[in-house]
Structure formats: C-alpha cells, structure tokens
C-alpha cells in the first residue's frame, strides 16, 4: 500500500472519532429546477438542521458539473481538483453521499460526491460543487440522518494544506 508524504507534519491521532446521537431521520424530495446542494442545505436548515449525513437515492439533472481529483504538480498539496466536467441532461443520479456541516464562519456547508449516468449511458462521478447541478424532471430524493452531539466543522489542516471538515463536538 503506497503512502504519500503530505506537505505538512502528520498530526496525531490518525483517526478522529466523536460519538453522536440521532436528531431525527428525514426523506427529502427536491423539486425540478433546484440546485442539488443548495436545495438540500435550504431544506435542512429551514428545519433547523445544521449537521447531517446524507444518502442520495435518486434524481435527474438538466445540467451538472463535477470535479475529479488529480496529482497537484505545484507541490503545495498531494492532490487537487482538475477542471470541471459539464454534462448536459438528461443525466441520472444513481447514488451519492454528502455531509452537512459548517464552514469556518459558521455557515452551512455541504460536501457532496455522487455517481451519475449521462444521456449516452456513460458513467461519471466526482465532487459536485454547489450552484452548478440543476435538477431535472422528478427532482432528487435523499435520506438524511440529523446529528446531535457531534458534527463536521471546517478547519485549516496543516498536514494536507486544505481547509477541510473535521469532527467536532457540538454544544
């Protein structure tokens, strides 16, 4: 198993684990025309949910873009995102996972990866940024478990040189 040397010092522990409690389970059906990430965030925050684990079950897109990883030749990080790939619909969402947490300023942030099928049957997938994935007919369906006691907060990570979600205890 190949290991990579990160740009910053490795910090201990190598696993961060925070116990949490369920604060409710929800099925969300988003409407056509909504943006996937922004729609999920809006639906959950309207219910007072700021921390959640999301399973994407199904959906369609009118248009979407995704990012995939690649080596970072700058040497500042071991990997980074490449240029976005745009797919024009109909595109079908066949699965995905997302985490709802908060950015460093306390605003809601959804980190979403998904796999989709394009109009020609080709399978694609990657990181789905907010604002570029407009849902098509039927919208999308997600199952959500809301978290209490712990969640994800963005913090600077010196080891990887990214600002990323870190498990955090919640008041």
């Amino acid at each position: 198993m190949r290991n990579l040397t990160q740009p910053g010092p490795a910090s201990l522990p190598r696993r961060i684990c925070r116990p949490a409690r369920e604060a409710g389970s929800f099925r969300i059906q988003l409407a056509p025309g909504e943006d996937l990430s922004n729609g999920l965030v809006a639906a959950l925050t309207a219910r007072g949910i700021a921390d959640a684990a999301v399973e994407l079950l199904s959906g369609t897109f009118e248009v979407m873009s995704y990012l995939t990883g690649q080596p970072d030749d700058s040497g500042q990080r071991v990997a980074t995102y490449g240029a976005p790939t745009r797919l024009d619909g109909p595109v079908r969402l066949i699965g995905g996972n997302a985490m709802l947490g908060r950015d460093a300023a306390g605003r809601p942030l959804l980190h979403c990866h998904a796999v989709v099928v394009d109009r020609a049957g080709g399978v694609h997938g990657g990181h789905l940024p907010p604002g570029v994935c407009r849902l098509g007919p039927g919208g999308a369906v997600a199952i959500v478990v809301a978290l209490a006691g712990a969640g994800f907060r963005v913090a600077a990570d010196a080891e990887t040189n990214f600002d990323i979600f870190q498990p955090a205890e919640l008041a």
């Binding site: 290991n3 409690r21 080596p71 071991v78 699965g95 985490m99 998904a114 978290l147 498990p167």
Partner: protein, 142 residues
C-alpha cells in the same frame, strides 16, 4: 456484506442506535481504519450512513472464487463517489468492516467493487458517519 455461510435466509430484527462522526487522516487504510474508529467509539455492529473522501490509490475486488479479480486504480486523488456497507462483530467481538462502492480516477473514469483491506490508503481525508445497528436475536426464515 459478509459472505453467507449457510443457504438459510436470516432476518435480523433490530434498531438503529448511536452515531459516530469520524475522520480518517492521510495514509490510513480505509477498511482497517473504519474498523479501528468504530472500535474506538464502542460500535461493533453498524452501517455506513454516509462517507465522502479520497484515496491515494484504490484496489477494488469483484467476483469470487476462481473468478475473483482486483481492479487497481492509481492516484493520487482517487475520489470516493459512493461508499456503503456495514460493520459486524468477528468471533472475538471486534468490528469487521465490509465496504463497497464506486470511485473515479483523475481521467474521470468510474470503477466499482469491494474495498480491499490494506490496499486503499486515504489521500486527503475520509469523512464518515456510522450508525450502530442493535440486533435482536436473529431468526432463520425458511
């Protein structure tokens, strides 16, 4: 999912319990890292509720027996697109992870299979939420 040892259908009644919010850091092995994290919070039986992350390289198993094979994907920057699966206790009562899913490489090709042990090092991070599954006594059906 663990390989079934008998041909009987097993229906396991139960309920969901506690959750764990987990991050695995770079170079941790996906499968053994999930097991160690679950053990740390005292979960031996559970399901993955969501997972988002990336791998240095990936090794995905498919088929079984004589047809078993491995898809090896070189990174870094392999994205985990979907990850599902469960934790079940082994004979000693330790959690064992059975994880499968889909990944993409730097050319946006997508692959799927079972994540193999000691072969899927974390690249930047793995964000994971696991929920405990609390089984009642299992019943054999039919």
């Amino acid at each position: 999912m663990p390989e079934a040892e008998s041909r009987d259908v097993v229906l396991e009644a139960g309920r969901f319990g506690r959750l764990a919010v987990i991050r695995l850091k770079p170079n941790e092995d996906l499968v053994s890292g999930v097991e160690a994290a679950a053990a740390e919070v005292g979960i031996v039986c559970g399901v993955v509720r969501s997972a988002v992350g990336s791998l240095v390289d990936a090794a995905l198993g498919y088929g079984s027996g004589e047809t078993a094979g491995v898809t090896s994907v070189e990174g870094p920057g392999v994205e985990i697109l979907t990850l599902s699966g469960e934790l079940r206790p082994d004979e000693a009562g330790h959690p064992r992870a059975f994880l499968q899913g889909t990944i993409s490489d730097s050319d946006a090709r997508v692959y799927g299979g079972v994540f193999l042990r000691d072969a899927n090092p974390i690249c930047i991070t793995l964000e994971l939420v696991v929920q405990e599954w609390l089984p009642d006594a299992a019943e054999e059906v039919g």
